[in-house]
Symmetry: C2
Subunit: 222 residues, 2 copies
């Protein structure tokens, strides 16, 4: 499988790149608006994996070039860049491409972080409205701590919630999640169930802020 | 400590009554709008505990009578009865009473359960607006599966998120949560952080509905 991580130079992109690089043999393409930055980070990830005995080749591209070549395109960008990013790549997508959104909208006040729910209903709904109609969209990887994911010394047992309208696309993403050691994908239905998933991320941050002995938290349903 | 469980005949009330009965020696008062029903359920809980070798006395009262006698008053009622219930007992509360809300507002559509966020900001904010000013309010016990809690054969490792503006009251509720075997209280700041906590409950139900092998789910932050 060829996976493009758009915004793959950012924190959650880095975490997914390193974990898929470490745990699988999928081909990972690092995307960025700045192709030079994408190449630099791809080399960094290669070096990190090489230091752990994993020989892999990661290539960096401008986002549209990365998306053009991929079977699965992960929109690992901030929520406020989600629609821009889709519009910049939409002519590179087709019904054979699975689009994945891990994006969450948050705002902060004096008390903590909060879910900033868009008028469309969810961040995923913004992506669903912006994407070409025939391209399937799946939500996944929302509630993972980027630093914990990127630290390959960190072992975990985390769940990731997978939602979407296209069962084949959900199945592809579920398998990709399952291949990451310690990550358990759980089905959470369709796009309408996105808000409650996206709202968990600010909660994870608030729990980590308020409890000194907890850091880089994921969740487990049990 | 004397704990009144208002709506203690309902599912989450039953779970808390049985767990505190099993794991602690606190005095538990079962409250209901119907005192006869409260007495019947209190006897049921006694019988269940007795069958497990725990001798305890639980008494049933009309809600206001139960609240009058308690140090901690848990509003284990549906969200749409929360304000009514507070108004029916408010002259029995004072600044020595800790009021606890585990209430969550949910609605359901074809896709699943959703957080029904009140205009006040959260269900807890409705309670904060309705209660006498000097009575401290704490949110806790939102994301626990009632059936799993009430089944004393079920072992678990669940977290419960505790929020509120009064640190002493939070500390009392945190200790009460900690005394339930397998339950870990986690601080999640003030009342403004309530919506993300309340929104987890419909998510727990959606995950259980969509995954055949998962039932009566709680969450664990790790």
């Amino acid at each position: 499988m060829r996976i493009a991580l758009l915004g793959g130079t950012g924190d959650i992109g880095q975490g997914l790149a390193l974990r898929w690089g470490f745990d699988t043999s999928h081909e990972i393409l690092i995307g960025s608006r700045d192709p030079e930055r994408a190449r630099t980070k791809a080399e960094e990830y290669e070096t990190e994996l090489d230091s752990r005995g994993i020989e892999t080749e990661m290539k960096g591209f401008e986002n549209a070039m990365a998306a053009d070549r991929a079977d699965v395109v992960v929109l690992a960008v901030p929520a406020y860049h989600l629609v821009d990013t889709i519009e910049a790549i939409d002519d590179r997508l087709d019904d054979e491409t699975t689009l994945v959104t891990p994006a969450v909208g948050m705002k902060r006040d004096e008390e903590g972080f909060h879910y900033n729910r868009p008028g469309a209903g969810s961040v995923a709904a913004l992506a669903a409205d912006a994407k070409p109609e025939d391209v399937p969209l799946v939500g996944a990887f929302h509630n993972l701590p980027a630093d914990g994911l990127a630290n390959l010394d960190r072992e975990f047992e985390w769940d990731t919630l997978v939602f979407g309208e296209d069962d084949d696309a959900k199945s592809i993403v579920t398998d990709l999640a399952d291949e990451i050691e310690g990550l358990r994908p759980l089905d959470v239905g369709g796009l309408a169930n996105a808000p409650e998933v996206e709202a968990v991320t600010p909660l994870l941050i608030n729990v980590a802020v308020e409890n000194d002995d907890l850091h880089d938290l994921g969740i487990r349903f049990e």
